[in-house]
Symmetry: C2
Subunit: 159 residues, 2 copies
DNA sequence: TGGAAGTGGTTGACGTGTCTACCAACATAG
DNA sequence: CTATGTTGGTAGACACGTCAACCACTTCCA
């Protein structure tokens, strides 16, 4: 039986990291979303989908591959792809090898829009985040993220 | 005129930090939200609101103060408080000194629910994040977040 | 003092994300 | 071959977040 007194509350030092991270992330996402929305017709999720698709040689992916790449659940992906299809940014194609399946493919319009949006987005990521931190700090952040993600993955497999 | 060739794309080192951070944050938020939802009746936003209110001596705040504390826009706050009011977690009170204004106050039920939810949430934050990183890494993260946030604030004031 | 500008807060419409349930096709063990 | 479980994907209901418009009150200054 676990009692409340067993809880190890966060120390001031720990809380500073946790709250800081939460706040930074919230502000960064909001600012980047705003920037994308005003300088292009894309939302941040749209952008991520189009990056993943245009990284492929044939500009298309099976939905489950795209979902794994982005870390999205299949339902979310399905909804989002439907909205993007309505706006003509992507289209669906039949999959001949598995009749359940499909492909999500970037359209010409999708390519035009992401090529227009990418420079401004990358510039914003630099100005807001990358160029404000020392390379060593970026390495610590990258190492930390990989560690945390790897251990979450371990947990998932063990359960 | 800015040409695409002027864009300084992210180096592999920079992209590792940026993508890692994004992914970690996404997974952490999802996992914490899931944990809160299953072990209590609260969503993550509910939790944040209740923490802010119960931190106050009188358990209440003006909506704009609460919004500043959480970094939320007033519209978001208004919507969320309305939903929480419907569920009896908070209630609104009149503000006598400014007749436009109001207070958002925790109810007894709200207190009970957050006291029940907090230990599990803090335990999850520790298990998923805090306890998996060295204190020095946490300090670097805290410093980085404060730097990024401070410079965003500077930008905001300058513009 | 009266009107314009600013502040506190709400609302509605709409895009987004999650959960649950569901259908169709595949894989495979008997 | 067929029953059973698994995988790929969709659909609806609902919670959440943003934007723009709005109302009510306050502030301030001509």
């Amino acid at each position: 039986m676990i009692f409340m007194t067993d809880v190890r509350w966060l120390t001031e030092r720990e809380a500073r990291a946790w709250r800081g991270l939460q706040f930074m992330q919230m502000r960064l996402e909001a600012e980047l979303a705003r920037q994308l929305a005003t300088e292009s017709g894309l939302s941040y999720p749209d952008y991520l989908v189009l990056v993943a698709l245009t990284d492929q040689p044939d500009g298309r992916l099976r939905p489950f591959e795209l979902g794994d790449l982005l870390g999205w659940e299949k339902s979310r992906l399905s909804h989002h792809v439907a909205r993007m299809t309505d706006r003509g940014l992507v289209k669906k194609e039949r999959c001949t090898s598995d009749r359940r399946g499909a492909f999500v493919a970037v359209t010409a319009k999708g390519r035009r829009e992401i090529e227009a949006a990418a420079p401004g987005h990358v510039r914003a990521v630099r100005e807001l985040f990358i160029d404000r931190l020392a390379p060593e700090a970026l390495d610590v952040i990258a190492d930390s993220a990989e560690k945390v993600l790897a251990e979450m993955e371990d947990d998932r497999l063990r359960s």
